[in-house]
Each structure stands twice: as C-alpha cells, then as structure tokens.
Symmetry: D2
Subunit: 303 residues, 4 copies
C-alpha cells in the first residue's frame, strides 16, 4: 500500500505579494484562497483546493510537504507505521490551514516536515469533467498541469529511503552512489508510476533543492524558458534533458530564491523495475545529460 501522491508543498517566501504575482502570472497557477500570512494556489489541471501554499516568513525554504492518502483507514494505517519506524507523529487539526482536514505530521530523518492527509476542499480543474476540452484557452504563463515532485537534501539518505520504502510504500527508481557503491548520494522515489514523486540528494538536512511543476513536452519547456526571460526571472539551468528520469527540464528561482523546475516527460515506471544506478563519476551526465558536469550553484543554492 502506498500514499496516493505528493499533494501539497508549503514554501516560505519573503514577500507575499511579489510571490503571488510570480506564481500566478509567470508560473500560471490560480490563487484559490488567502489568509493573513498564507496564500493558496493550484494548477489548472488539479482538482483539489491547493497544491502550493506560500507562507510569509523571514527566510525562504520548505515549511512542509504532504502526501494525500485515500481515506481515514489509510491515514491511520500509515500513522501507525510511521510510529513503528520510530518517528513521533502528531495530528494537525482540521482547518489549521484553509480547506484542509486533519493531517498526521512528523519529521523525517533528514529533518523535513511531512504531513499525510486525505481531506481537502474540492475545486475541480479548469476544464471540468463533462465533455472537457484538453486545456483551458485562458491559461497564463507556464501553465503547468500540476505539482510534480520535490527534491530535498539531507545527510542520512539510507534511512530516509528506507523510511519511504518500508513505511509509505515507495519504490526507488534510481539512485546515485559512489563508484564502488558504498555510499548513497542520491535517491529517487516513486509511489505512483512516475519516474519520481520525491527525491533526496546528499547535503545539509532540512533543505529544499527544488519543487517541480509538470508540463507536457520539450516545446513547453522551451516556452517556459522564453517566458522566464520575458519576465526577467533568473534561470539557473536552461532547457536540457536529465539522464536520471530522462525528463526534459529547466530550473529557475522564485522571488525568494526557492528553486523551481518545469519538468516534462520522464518515463513511466513500476514496482518490479530494477533500480537504475548512477555512479558518482557519471553524476554530471545523470543530472544534466547534455552538459555532463554539475553546476556549482546547483549544489549550493538551497533554501
């Protein structure tokens, strides 16, 4: 049994208005709710009330991320398994944040705050469920379909990988290891059939590397790149392919310095597929298939 999907990400941002402007006009998300210190957003192709929360804060970063499960039964089941693994859980009460039901909260071995939940307000997609058009004519900006995955940094990748596989039912699609295989430097995990729903690379605990939004094709990655230049958004990595996941990608920064990705394609995977291994000497090619070497900022800029 696995969780259903990465359902939401809460990012800390320095300036709420500038951030909303960016996430609505450049990324093209829709604002769906607002309280004093938080703004809630969803992509046009998402049904639930929000997949992104912007929280006003003094420093950028990841406030929490959360997986949606099917129902209360699954929530209780996973709650017990998390406790059995040795993590402490707490219940976040309904309406702590807008449109949200109860959640089970805990801290990963890598220091990240995670929640599990099943209740959230329903808004529907921009195209509806009756004889729908394939996309909405009035979409703005990059207009991704949905939140896709997050990549986090942490020290103990073996434990956090074991946690997601044993407790939450994830599988590992790919991993990065030292050449001899002694140490785990990167771990790519899926609960669905996507190349990754969550990934970790070696680095400081509790940090966010990036949050990714899904677009359809190389063409849309290029359109995203064009729009980012038109909007003077800093692009860190221009359109390229990942060796890992095979996806087409572009990386850039939100106004607070949180890294975003527009990600397309990436293979479909299954629990019986073997884990693909990238050795450290090929890590450049694994991450940037065309450049074939890492970028210093890509390893250092974390929030």
């Amino acid at each position: 049994m696995t969780v259903m999907r990465l359902g939401r990400v809460e990012l800390r941002v320095l300036d709420l208005e500038k951030s909303v402007e960016y996430y609505t006009n450049v990324i093209g998300l829709e604002e769906t709710g607002r309280t004093q210190d938080r703004v809630y957003l969803k992509a046009w192709d998402e049904y639930d009330h929000h997949s992104l929360i912007l929280k006003k804060a003094d420093s950028a970063g990841l406030e929490h991320f959360a997986f949606k499960v099917r129902n209360e039964t699954d929530l209780s089941y996973f709650e017990k398994k998390v406790e059995q693994f040795g993590l402490t859980t707490s219940r976040v009460s309904k309406n702590t944040r807008l449109a949200e039901g109860q959640a089970v909260r805990f801290i990963l071995p890598t220091g990240h705050q995670v929640e599990l939940y099943y209740e959230i307000g329903y808004l529907g997609t921009a195209v509806g469920t009756l004889n729908p058009h394939p996309w909405p004519m009035n979409a703005k900006g990059i207009a991704p379909h949905r939140l896709d995955h997050v990549l986090l940094t942490g020290d103990d990748l073996k434990s956090v990988t074991r946690f997601f596989m044993e407790v939450l039912g994830f599988n590992q699609s790919e991993k990065i290891t030292t050449v001899g295989g002694e140490e785990l430097l990167g771990s790519f995990l899926f609960a669905t059939n996507k190349a990754h729903d969550l990934a970790f690379v070696k680095g400081p605990d509790a940090k966010l590397h990036h949050a990714a939004f899904f677009v359809d094709s190389i063409h849309d990655v290029f359109k995203a790149a064009d729009l980012l230049t038109m909007n003077e958004v800093p692009i860190e990595v221009t359109p390229t392919r990942h060796g890992i996941s095979r996806g087409e990608t572009i990386y850039f920064f939100d106004p607070s310095g949180n890294r975003n990705e527009a990600f397309a394609n990436g293979y479909i995977t299954y629990p019986d597929f073997p884990t693909i291994t990238w050795t450290e000497d090929k890590i450049g090619q694994g991450i940037f298939y065309h450049r074939r070497e890492l970028l210093e900022s890509f390893m250092k800029a974390l929030t």
Copy 2:
C-alpha cells in the same frame, strides 16, 4: 490493491513472417523468442521477456491479454476475488508459453480471455540500468517505449467495469454514456496513474478494437505516421488528439487487420479523481477531438 500493469497481449495473426516483419521493422519491437506457432516480442524500453505474442491462426484477433501482479500472494488474492465475483478460474502451468510462469486464467463478462501472472523471464531494456542513455541509438521504426493499453468491445460494460473496479482494483478515468446517462457506452479504466490501461466500448463481445503502444510526443506520432506511409501500412486515423485521455494518436492496421495505435501523452490520474463523462452527442469530439465525428470504419473494423 491493484494489478501492476497490462503485461502482455497475444494477437492472432494470419501470416507469422509478415507479422514479425511488420512488428519488428515498422513498429520496431525486438523479437525475443520463437516457437512453432508463436513469436515473442518486446519494446526497447521494457524489461520483461515479452509484451506481445503473435500466434499463427486462421483469423485475426485477441487470443488473450494479461496483467502482471507483484507476487504469488497477490496472484492468489486476485484468484480468490475473481472466483468470488463468480467467474471460473484455471491455472495455466509454467512454460505453457515461452519464459512465462504460472498464470490464473478466466473469461470476462465480455468474453475476453484474461490472465494474471507475476513470473516472466527478465531481459532488461536496450539502455541498461547503469548510467543509462535515454534512448538506444539503434532503435528502428516507430520504436515505442512499451505496450500501453488495449481497447475491447463488449455488450455488458457495466458488469465488466464493475469486475475491474471491484476485483482487480481499477478506477474509471472516463466514461461515455447516453445523453441522459442511462446507458454506459464506453468505460476507460486504470490500475496505474495513466489515463487508461484498459478500455471497453459498446460492441460485439470478445472482440479487439486496438492495442496501443506508447511514444513520447506529437513529434513521434508524426514520425510514426510518416514511417507508416513509407512502409505502405494502412493508416485509418491520421495524427490527431483524443478528447478522452487528451492523448495524441494515430491508428493503423497490422498485416492481419488488427488495429494498432501509437499513443503519446495522456494525463496522469489518481484514484480520487472524479470520472470524466462524455455524453453520446459529444462522442465524436471525445474520440477524435479535431474531426469531431466518428469514422464508420473505426466502429466496425474489429478483430
């Protein structure tokens, strides 16, 4: 709990050599085994020994299709659930066909032969699992990643839908109904996160409408169309979009008249997504989003 994926399709073909020539050179699958009356093939991106079996026969059509499950526990679990639903099961013994383990076999309410299995020979993809390239330089023809789905016809779509949802853990992504909603004319089902792994439309029992192979993009659908003309393969439906699934598509026929599809994109879905409804008056747009009307051959040519 659900099955893992559509693992194989066995097609009846009239001329084994012409069919192998077509499936290897035009579709671009790899022949992985052969017995007197059967040839086994896989796509370059598949790990298992085969996903397509061509069986020499006097008439074209679908001999059987099969879902891979995770292990013997799951196989026994589903075997019991199939029996509880009221269908008779039998065990197909190991090595009845090449490289295959035991399977559980039964007949759907729509008359189609289905198997469940978990054991099959492992060959690996054309790019390997150690620092892999994203695609193989020597791929031929349309070169799909994998078998994607089958669409079948049958009379009692309510029962067969109920079977897949209650017994095998599928969800329904989309459905076609009469305008008032009284009758179910089409049912699109998924066990993974793909827009469909299996679909049924109203029609004669035990028939195949098409077997679909997955390609990456509109560009690859066009490349497929060009290659089909170069190889003088009959194209039934030139490149277009589906309203249902949003996928980009092209339909054509193998040398025995079995319909094939090269299918790209299509959304990612989840069990909590509502079922999308297409009403009969919009069925043309649902199936051929640009043409907006059905094609007579598309409803009639079944094998």
Copy 3:
C-alpha cells in the same frame, strides 16, 4: 529579378463582424484599419499595415491578391513585362484602399485579379526592432507569423506558370502531372526561398482554394487544431503532412467558407533546384502524405 513576396490577400466575406471576430480571435490577427466595407488586418510578425483585407460582399472568394516589389523601378519594370506578355494593366491610384500606394493591376490567364505594389503603411511587428523578444506574450489564437501563400484553381496552368516564371521571376518547386507527363495538374511556384509562395491546381478559373498562414511547428499546428475545435470552427483536414512542400498542415474554413490553412515548416528551396514531380497516381500522397488519398470536399469546396 523577382517580386519580393505575397504581400496581401483580399477576401470577400459575407458578414464583416463575424469575419473580423474570427480572424482576430481565432486566427489571432490584429485589426489595423477599417472603412465602411473593408477591414484591414496583419499578423503580429508582419511589418506592413496589412496582409489581409476583408471586404463585405454577397459571395465569398478572392477579391485580389498582390505581390510587393522593392521600389518604383521594379514596379515599372514588371508593369512592362506584364504588358509584353500580353496582359492589360492598369494603375490603381494611391489610397484606393487604406494605407496603400499606387498598384499595377491585371488579370491572370486563370481569371484572378493581381496587383503589384511597393508602397504601404508601416506599423512594425509586435516585438519591435530593438532587442526584441522572440514572440509577444499577449498573442491570441493561432497567432501565425505571417500570410504564407495562396492556392488557386484555374484551367490553363501552363500559361499561368509561364507567366509567373517569365514575367515575375518565379521558379517552380513542384508540379503535379498526369502519369505520362502530358498535362499539368498542379504548379507550385516560389519567388523567395520558401517551398511555395503561390500555387495553382486544375479547376475552375478565378477561384480560391485556400489562403495559408505560417506557424512554427507541428506543435503549433496541433495547437491550432485544438483552438479550432474549442471555437467550433469547421476543420476540413486534421493535422497532417503534405508530400508536396513537406509542410505540416491543417485546413479549415472562415465563417464565409473561404478555406484557410495553418502551415508549418516546408523546405527552403533555390532557383537551381530541379522541379519535383508528382504523378497523378500519387497525388493523394503528394497532398495528404498520411491519408494517401484525396478528399472530395478538398477538390470541390472553392470560393
């Protein structure tokens, strides 16, 4: 010496408001001027005041089309050559239509009204000429770069081809002939380096087959197709490739029944390239490379 380009097309339309609505919101042209019975439009990437004129009339069709030449010297030069060929010319005086200078007017052997001109108002593109962005963020609809070509019907294709080659300096990129080569059934002509700026197919004199607008890629042809369905515009030919020109294409109708095309790619050609020949038995493949047969409406619906 050749003319510079197809500069404008004047179409007769039945309902001016409905036509403007279509050409601005669906095609995505910009209205640049208006008089009592005419509306002037340009594409976002065109510099001149207009490339399309809609003229209110009782029947649809082509009122005239015109080639831009470099200057008065060229205009006089071509005027003389047209006369020497045996056609009667007249001078259309400045400001007969909005923003236009003098033109030389004559009737082709196929009965079509043609003008040559060099003066026209200058508006500039939507992205400007100082450090321009590659495309405008506020483009609407199909948003073609420019008017690309027209295809006309006529009886005496040999004469009209000879006229364009001998008088206006065109070359012939491709032709359609009877299998034995006796009769010319189609003639594709270029004055630039594009696969065609003008084409004729055998048919009734003085008729328009279609006016084409240029888009960038297969992706944009598909986007056009999606938008046409969203706007309930009748599509005649869904996205496909031409054998002739190799371009990617989609055909559809404006509210008066004038056929439009969104056309992408197509090769670059030169005066020393041999003329490509399509024989009548392969005409289906030449026109619709994937369908490989003609469409009855495609031959019959003319305005």
Copy 4:
C-alpha cells in the same frame, strides 16, 4: 541581384579519418568524394556534389567558403563588382577541387578566403524528385537538411558588411552595436529569405566562429544534443534559443575544434524589413536568450 546561397565551406582538420567519422556518423553527412588530402560531403537534402570539404592541415580553421551564383553571367557580373570594390580577384580553374567548375576567388576585408561559383557536380537528394518521401528512412546521426550559415570574426565589420550589401546584394537582418550605436560589434546578413546566411562578430581577422547545419525543430535540436552526448562529442552550449534570428540552437565542436551548430527555425525575412538592433548591454540575451549572458569560451574559442 544577389548570390544564390552559401554553397560550401572548406574546413581544415587535423585528422582526416576521425573527422570523416564524425561528420558522417554524428552529423550524418554523406561522403561523396575523396582525394589525397580532401574529403567531400553533402547533407541528405542537398542536390550538389558537396557542401562541406574537409582538408587535412596542421591547424583547424576555415580554408574557404563559397557562394553559388546562377550562371556565368552572374559570376562575371559579381567578379567585376568585387574588383570595383577594390578587392583583387583570381579565377580558380575547373577541377582544382573535385566536381567543381571555375570559381572567382578573393579575400575579404576581414581576411577570409571567399569564392563565387556556379558549376558543381549534381548528385540529387536522398529522396529524389519523383513522388518523394519527406525524409530518408536510413538517415544517420543529426541528419541536417543542409549547410545553413557561417559566423566569422573580424575587425572591420563596417567594411565587410558594406562589401556584402553593395557588392553581393546581401541585406542586414540584425546588428549588434555599442549602446550609443557608435560601433558595429556584430552583423547578420542574408542573400536569401533566411534570418542569416552569413554573420560577423567583432574579433580577430580570418577566424571561424562556427559553421551551422539546419535541422527542423526544437525536437531535432534536442535529438542532436542527445546524440552528441551518446557520441561523447563536446557540447559548448546546450539547447537554447537565440534572441538574434529567434532560432533554436546547440553548439559543439568537431574533432579538430571547429565549432559546429545545429540550428532550427529562425524567421523568414525580406529586403524591406528594417534591421533589428541589439545593443551591447543586451548582447547576452541576443545570443543566448535564456542564459542572458555570454559564455567566455564562446567568445574565445575560434579556429
């Protein structure tokens, strides 16, 4: 009157066999002739005997490049105009190189060797001129359609621009200037309708910046990038867009260090279009639209 096109480029290479291996298997050109110290190649979509000559030498670089004109009349006409401009011309006799007729040779103000010619052997494209398919099924590697343009460096860009405009009939599509416009830092020139057939940027005289080959789309630029990594060819600039020309691009090096480009799209232009100006402060965006800053190697690595 203008020249017809950039017809050939002769590159000096250090190792003839390694270079042929690269240009045939990675770029995907066809070897069409060979003498002791030269190998001749063409792209699949070119008609003439060759567009690229590899000449064995002790240092990499551009041996000469040449424009094809229509006939002897044009050749003599341009010969006189070159002389009138003040450059010394010589006639290169027929068969000095394989399959070539007489040429007129001269040295540009920037020190580059240029030839004009009209005679060259005819081989035809890989798809023929009778009912041709749009592309050849057996194409290898990047498989460009044709040689597209060269970019050269030199000191006196005003003179060389004036030469091409006044003598050879080119027009200037774009230019790079200091912010106040005093100095010309880049000049993009066309004789056809392509965004550039030839370009110069400020730098040492007589040097080659790159030779570009034309591919169809962003998709093919990405395919090229993938193939370059698979073949371990050094990529300097991963897939991106140019502000100048709007083309999609990737830069990489041949085994001798000559820079190559795979270039797609780019607009269609005409002699009456105004010259687009890029000011030095926006040069990064003009050259690499997404990165928005120059790359040191891009300015320094010249052959």
